[in-house]
């Protein structure tokens, strides 16, 4: 795990990054994102429909021991993580939609997370009293919203200042991603060596399959490709640190260590898989942009291709 200082530093960095993300946006971007408000609803459906179910079913299918299964379930029930916004930004997705989804899923978390945990916990017969730190959820919202709004305001006030801050935020974003990967592996080397393959599969699969199902469901519900990719990233990327916090507040001793395993592994691998997916999405988006440049204008006889 990260030290206290590192956690604090990371928190500050996240605020600067979100300032940069906000500075890349205009209020009009949010209005465009909200032209199809069902996007946010579909995001919520993926977040609290697909992900917990995925967590539960992979725990059952892989026959994970109870403590680890609890960790996986908890991970599946988490709201969207702030890093999803950074990845959406780099993948040229609909950033405004991503931010709105993170905000909504985090708001709803206070209600949904205990409900879902109780429901699936009952199914798995591992029910427990979870402590949902409302203050921390509020903090997540604060770190997310305040810098974003300031960023948007700065961009509106002066596009030059906005664009410079956007660039700084983006550079820091890359730095944080590289830092997370670089510092995590050596610290947890022994953990990585002793973890069984089924746990790996669960930790990696939660993110990757979550993205895939999120994409398919959004496409099925008639979201365009760019929005579907945005929802996919949002679905797959969960708020890992929040899960870790809930575990440390709820469990103690060796139980805590075991429950923590999946959230910790997930947090590492989601950065790796999201980076790969982001690079891929970015290429696809660029190609689509250029193709759309040349596409025919849709007419009554030839409606737009989705």
């Amino acid at each position: 795990m990260l030290t206290e200082l590192e956690t604090r530093l990371l928190g500050v960095l996240m605020m600067v990054i979100m300032l940069g993300m906000g500075a890349s946006l205009t209020f009009k971007d949010f209005r465009i994102a909200f032209r199809k408000p069902q996007g946010v609803l579909i995001g919520l459906l993926c977040q609290y429909g697909i992900m917990p179910l995925l967590g539960y079913s992979s725990a059952v299918l892989l026959g994970l021991p109870p403590a680890i299964a609890v960790g996986l379930l908890l991970m599946g029930c988490m709201p969207g993580g702030t890093t999803s916004n950074i990845f959406t930004y780099f993948s040229k997705g609909v950033l405004a939609l991503s931010i709105m989804m993170t905000v909504c899923s985090t708001l709803v978390a206070v209600l949904m997370v205990p409900l879902l945990l109780a429901f699936y916990g009952n199914l798995m017969a591992v029910s427990s009293e979870y402590v949902i730190p409302a203050a921390n959820v509020a903090q997540v919202l604060f770190v997310l919203l305040v810098p974003t709004v300031i960023g948007i305001a700065l961009r509106k006030f002066n596009p030059n200042v906005g664009a410079v801050i956007e660039l700084i935020g983006a550079l820091l974003g890359v730095f944080v991603i590289v830092f997370l990967i670089g510092s995590w592996v050596p610290r947890n080397w022994s953990l990585l060596m002793t973890t069984p393959w089924s746990v790996y599969l669960a930790a990696i699969g939660l993110g990757v399959i979550g993205m895939l199902l999120g994409f398919l469901l959004s496409r099925g519900l008639k979201q365009d490709r760019r929005r579907a990719r945005t929802i996919a990233l949002e679905t797959g990327i969960q708020n890992g640190p929040l899960a870790v916090l809930i575990v440390t507040l709820t469990f103690t001793g060796t139980m805590q260590q075991e429950v923590l395993l999946i959230p910790v592994l997930y947090s590492l691998f989601i950065v790796l898989t999201s980076t790969a997916v982001t690079i891929w999405f970015r290429r696809v988006t660029t190609r689509e942009d250029l193709a759309r440049d040349q596409a025919k204008v849709p007419t009554a006889l030839q409606p737009a291709r989705a």
Binding site: N160, A163, L290
Partner: protein, 579 residues
Amino acid sequence: MDQETSAYDLKPWTRHYGDAIASRLPPLRHANLAGLIRDCERRFAKQIAFTTCMPNGMNGSLTYAQVARHSDAFAVYLRECVGLAAGARVAVQTPNCLAYPVAAFGVLKAGCVLVNTNPLYTPTEMEHQFKDSGAEALVIVDMFANKLEGVLAKTGIRKVIVCQVPQFLPAIPRAVIRAVMKVWNRVLPPIAIAHVQLGRALAEGERAKKEKRIDVASYASALERDTLAVLQYTGGTTGVSKGAMLTHGNLLSNLDQALAMGRARIVDGGECVLTALPLYHIFAFQFNLLCFFACGARNVLAPSPRPIGNLQRAFENFPITWVSGVNTLFNALLNEEWFTAFPPRYLKAAVAGGAALQHAVAERWERVTQTRIAEGYGLTEASPVVSFNPLTGVQKPDSIGIPVPGTEVRLVDDAGQPVAPGQPGELIVRGPQVMAGYWKQAQETASTLRDGWLHTGDVAVMDADGYFKIVDRKKDLVLVSGFNVYPNEIEDVIAQMDEVLEVGVIGVPDAKSGEALRAYVVPLAEGLTEEAVRAHCRKHLTDYKLPKAIEIRKELPKSPIGKILRKELRAEYARAAGT
């Protein structure tokens, strides 16, 4: 030319001018472009003249007074520091950025001749243009200056001035943009040749102006209406690029003519025009740069409109009232959600030229933006505007509109006799905007300019209202077994297929039919077969109009503004047939 009065000489179109368009234009107010530029710089001094808007929203601006100061300094630099004489050719080779107007206006104020040069030219094309024009100095954007290495020594260029896309932007955004260009995009190669930075040149010019107490206006005092102002290179009819000699009078006249068509919708000092087309091209040079400078407008320059998302911040951050474009640009905008969901609120009108505007594009534009696209017609040799659909009055789809005031237009047959109205004939133009000739090409000039009539090589028809419609290029006409076939018609039919992105049709020699049609088709997605195209053609075309050969391919050769170059296709076919 014959003496009798033809239907064209009665100018049936003038009744569509209405109250908004003057049918007779007052005499020119300025002797030369430098005078007009200076006058506007004084009138609108404190207003913003130009803004460069980068795709990420970074921007920088120059006021009319700043344009005056910088372009004066540049004029002095050219005359005093480089030692150019009046009439010397100065090439300017940059994409849209604040350096362009400073350099171009500086050249004109110095009494020199501006040679607009496409920055995407290959070294071979650059060499031809610099040698042919006899350019003595060159303003080039840093991104492409490395292309000069093998070329410079073979030309008469004595001084290379290097400018930047983010020129004149505030220091931090400028540094950031340059860092991104250098490190991320890697588009700033080191420049090995001797050169001076534009900023340095301006400082030297400023110093020389002070020391020698120079009255910059005196450089242009000898320039008259028929003095050469711009050498505008064009592919023309024969393939080798040649320079159309546009005089101060040509450009000033055409400015008045073009403005007359839209004057009723233009408020002096109150417009904001988006320039996404390149300024080195005559359309944007006349329409965006000169016309709107003359109206005191703010000109928002977009360095690159591809991908089209690059224009999003420009549309959001500036109250765009006018936009010029070509069919592909409007098409691309209409495919963007950010554009169709929130169309520009202050837009008054759009102007299309360069290539035929598709019906579907025009219709959808009107529905989305609640404004019209006025389609016009012009060519480099006519500075360039010949005709326009009036913004205030009847607009006809697929039509290039009516001739601008002070312009004579006729449609003639091969013998030079006017054809009956409704019949296709070569469009010829006479008016104050018609070029003085091709630079050092007496023969080409003589065949294109006859009795003051510019032979455009375009075949058109005129309807009863005096509106014109382009049928095709005369030289593209294909003679299949004695039947006239216009490739445009075949292209239109093939382009109707959903699976087709674009298509070019040419005539090639054929042993049996004299000439035969050959179609080059670019599909939207994979899977389009020759047979499918053939079947589609059979449904819509008579036998002799069917393409004999159909080639499916990935792309077609195009001009900088996106016109499909049939002559390249013909050359390619000839090369392949020859080997």
